[in-house]
Symmetry: C2
Subunit: 139 residues, 2 copies
DNA sequence: CACCAATTGCGACAGATTCGCAGTTGAAAC
DNA sequence: GTTTCAACTGCGAATCTGTCGCAATTGGTG
């Protein structure tokens, strides 16, 4: 059951009872424009480009707040910095191209279904999951 | 194509051209005895119990070395410390019980196959992957 | 327009892991 | 059995990512 994703990030932020502050306006715009999976430093860089003065601590805190409220997803594909994306309309998993660092999204209803089946067989209920596939181009 | 897993960790260590030092003897024994997914602190604790004086820096370095040579697997189920296990004979994925912290292993040949198919369809070759499923007991 | 809890910027702090370095030691070669 | 020396170790300092305390600011409601 995905959330009402027809709403903009801004609308969802207010709906969650959070304040639409100046830094958040900028960060939400950055997230909305992103078609990749930027880390906090990159988000900060992009936000700074739009509006200098935003603190990186605020980016960190905002990502925490947005994640807690389900407006974004946090990933940790590799060691090091976490990476983020706006909560997608439909769940997907990721290929990480080890040669380029590029991240490609995919989705398999079949895999999703099997996960459910196995979890149920073990007496579990799935809260969340992540499937990260590290790949390289076929030669 | 799994590696020659019939060999003991010790044998594989030597075969990799690594030195079988006193601390490593202990750490390998700890890894071999573990049936769970301990973190560095826990490994250090267990190693200390067998042989006081082993430094945690050595445990860190040893885990890196063993991982580089494919003798162990490193996991990061949650934020915080990484967790380890001896390279299993057969690949498996993990359920993480959010209520107890317990880790349960499972394997689905079907999921593995589908991953291969999708990767191939994208022109990728899989190097590695991880599927972590965070669950709770069904009420 | 006043009010006040939520939010921000800043620098200090924390947790996990890595690193530099001097001393030790496997194990290969005498 | 000795010698030899690069690999390895212990220690503490350093690094890196992320969090926190606090005083100042500010959304948004009345
Ligand atoms: Mn999935
Ligand atoms: Mn798998
Ligand atoms: Zn994605
Ligand atoms: Zn496991």
């Amino acid at each position: 059951m995905p959330q009402p994703d027809s709403l903009s990030l801004t609308q969802r932020l207010k709906q969650a009872g959070l304040r639409l502050t100046a830094p958040r306006k900028v960060i939400l715009r950055v997230l909305d424009a992103a078609d990749d999976h930027p880390d906090v430093e990159e988000l900060h860089r992009r936000a700074q480009a739009l509006e200098p003065g935003i603190s990186i601590a605020t980016v960190y805190r905002t990502m925490n707040t947005l994640a807690e409220h389900g407006l974004i997803e946090r990933h940790s594909f590799a060691a090091g910095r976490a990476r983020y994306e706006a909560q997608p309309a439909e769940h997907h998993d990721h290929f990480i191209n080890l040669e380029t660092g590029e991240v490609v999204e995919f989705r398999s209803d079949e895999i999703e279904r099997i996960q459910q089946d196995i979890a149920r067989a073990h007496g579990f209920e799935i809260v969340s999951h992540r499937l990260d596939i590290f790949v390289r181009p076929r030669r």
